[in-house]
């Protein structure tokens, strides 16, 4: 079985990653790190660069974790991408970052975190940034 973590290059993503490493160790399971960037925008702030992913890989290797880093570049819905992977890989738990959102923000944009929480086929561990 696998621990799946949605990684974004900011404090939220780092917090999720830290929690996921701990969870994987506790369960004695493999870690799957996924970074998603939309394919219908020119620039995506959630896209992790090659260097960033390489650094994540180095850190995880140093911690002695069994892991895989994957980058999803198709589609425009991170929740779909995460849930699809969870189904495919038979994931035991999904780890995501969660942040406080203003009422207006909720009105304007759908929440990836909310959809993952509601639609996931497995338990979800939601982490706040430190």
């Amino acid at each position: 079985m696998t621990v799946l973590v949605g990684y974004v290059p900011n404090a939220l993503g780092e917090a999720a990653l830290t929690a996921a490493v701990e969870e994987a160790r506790r369960r004695g399971e493999r870690l799957l790190v996924v970074n998603m960037s939309r394919d219908d925008v020119l620039v995506d702030a959630r896209r992790a660069g090659e260097e960033q992913l390489a650094r994540v890989g180095r850190d995880l290797a140093e911690l002695g974790a069994k892991f895989e880093v994957r980058q999803v570049e198709d589609g425009n819905d991170a929740a779909d991408a995460l849930l699809g992977l969870a189904e495919q890989e038979g994931v035991s738990v999904i780890v995501i970052g969660l942040r406080h959102r203003s009422p207006v923000g909720k009105l304007l944009l759908g929440s990836v975190a909310q959809r993952v929480l509601l639609d996931a086929p497995c338990p979800v561990l939601a982490v706040k940034a430190a």
Binding site: S37, D39, D40, L42, V43, D44, R47, E73
Partner: protein, 500 residues
């Protein structure tokens, strides 16, 4: 000295709250569309054409001029940050600018581009104020045959000199000329190419052509390649320059201005050639030639200055002769015609207030752009995160609304779609769009002048080559068209000589 007092009077006209607001709106919209690749000032001005028919001409022109200059500023941002030039004039900027950004010097690259654009824009607009009336004085004595010859030079210039292929340029020009002749012939009253459709008798409105080719064509083209990997965000920070950057930038700014203005002013100018020339010059003159290709600040400063200077240069033939040398100018010309002005040498005489207010607004717009672009560069960069479907849905909506608003007939929407498909096909097969739009706008004018000269000479063909100006023009056309052939012959001659 007349020019200066006229210019000061122009400033007096511009400095009203509404006009300043228009200038601010223009430069803001212009920068935004310049930043977004694929949406240029030409498309924006085309989309706004139907709205401006109901506006005061001075205000609308100020708005357009702001969009025109703003597009030049915005284009450099995308070139530097993404290596995706927002428009053709910024292609050269991307070479060094993107290297600088990758080396963590995005802030300096953006600063030298913005300040260089301001310096070049200001100097070139001053030049415009002094050169343009001189050109008008010369042009006012031109007769119909000479005017025809100058238009033909512009035709050859935009189709054969710019762009990668002469055949493609000429094909695009012919498509434009064909669209231009549709309608009732003004001399004989015969219907031409209307295929019996009554709505075509008045010809196709330039708005529909411009919006169809620029907006719908581009939207279809982008829709055909919607999926693309997103890029990472390059941290911008607030643009600033160190003492060393200033020292290395000011000379390229001035040299770029000197190259850009004349190339913009001649028909067949455009910004591609001077920006490229400026890049080559800086590379040769630089004391750090080894830095070129790895992020040399001169390679951003020079071309950016050249690009803005040529934008000002473009306005010389537009205001003095009624000749557009780039797509945005072509649509501004169509706007002038839409308000019932006759673009050409008489414009300055008949509408001096309009012309000088426009020039004064360029100075103000340029200053606004500097203020808007230096501190706000990170905000502009955020525009790149807008999902494309939203953007192009908006464009198509505005395009259809604008085309329908012209005559309130459904037929125009069908035309718009047809022209959009033509625009899509042209992009697909690498045909440049500029010759088409120049052909549509200048074609009827060329025909009018040709017919007038023939009427004057009683149908004798020699009436078409009257006057020394016409001779020079035809000589230029012959040289431009025959040069590839001649150079090939010379080269063969040389090789055989060496071989013998």
């Amino acid at each position: 000295m007349d020019n200066i007092s006229a210019l000061i009077a122009g400033f007096g006209d511009v400095l009203t709250p509404v006009n300043l607001l228009m200038a601010l709106l223009g430069v803001t919209v212009g920068t935004a569309v310049g930043v977004l690749p694929g949406i240029g000032p030409a498309m924006t001005v085309a989309l706004l054409l139907p709205i401006t028919y109901g506006m005061e001409p001075t205000q609308a022109l100020i708005l357009f001029a702001g969009i025109f200059y703003g597009g030049m500023y915005g284009g450099s941002t995308t070139s530097i940050l993404l290596n995706t030039p927002g428009e053709s004039a910024s292609v050269v900027t991307a070479i060094e600018g993107n290297k600088m950004a990758k080396a963590g010097r995005a802030a300096q690259a953006l600063a030298t581009a913005a300040i260089g654009s301001f310096v070049a824009g200001t100097i070139a607009t001053l030049l415009l104020a002094f050169v343009m009336p001189q050109v008008v004085e010369f042009a006012i004595s031109l007769g119909a045959p000479e005017y025809l010859a100058i238009i033909l030079v512009a035709f050859v210039g935009v189709s054969a000199v710019l762009g990668s292929s002469r055949v493609r340029g000429l094909a695009s020009l012919l498509v434009g000329l064909t669209i231009g002749v549709i309608g009732i012939d003004f001399v004989t009253g015969q219907q031409r190419m209307t295929m019996g459709i009554p709505q075509l008798a008045d010809g196709i409105d330039v708005v529909v052509v411009a919006v169809g080719i620029f907006a719908v064509g581009e939207a279809l083209w982008v829709a055909a390649h919607l999926r693309r990997k997103a890029a990472e965000v390059i941290p911008v920070g607030r643009p600033w320059m160190g003492r060393e950057d200033w020292r290395r930038s000011w000379k390229p700014w001035l040299r770029g201005t000197a190259l850009g203005f004349p190339f913009g002013a001649i028909p067949a100018g455009g910004a591609e050639i001077p920006t490229f020339l400026s890049y080559m010059t800086e590379k040769r003159l630089s004391r750090h030639p080894e830095q070129f290709g790895r992020g040399a600040i001169e390679g951003v400063a020079g071309p950016e200055a050249a690009n803005n200077a040529s934008a000002a240069g473009t306005l010389v033939p537009l205001l003095a002769l009624g000749l557009p040398t780039n797509a945005t100018a072509a649509i501004m010309l169509a706007a002038l015609e839409g308000w019932g002005f006759e673009p050409g040498p008489l414009l300055l005489e008949k509408q001096p207030d309009l012309v000088w207010a426009l020039i004064a607004s360029l100075f103000i717009g340029n200053t606004m752009l500097l203020v808007l672009n230096l501190p706000l560069a990170p905000v502009w960069a955020k525009l790149l995160q807008i999902p494309r479907p939203y953007l192009y849905a908006g464009i198509l909506f505005f395009a259809s609304m604008g085309a329908y608003a012209v005559n309130s007939q459904t037929f125009d929407l069908l035309l718009l779609l047809g022209l959009g498909l033509i625009g899509f096909a042209m992009r697909r097969f690498g045909l440049p769009v500029l010759p088409l739009i120049v052909g549509v706008i200048l074609g009827p004018l060329a025909e009018k002048q040709a017919r007038r000269s023939l009427q004057l000479s009683g149908g004798d063909l020699s009436g078409l080559v009257g006057g020394p100006v016409a001779w020079v023009c035809y000589a230029i056309i012959a040289t431009v068209l025959l040069w590839p052939l001649v150079s090939k012959v010379i080269r063969r001659f040389h090789t055989t000589e060496v071989g013998a």
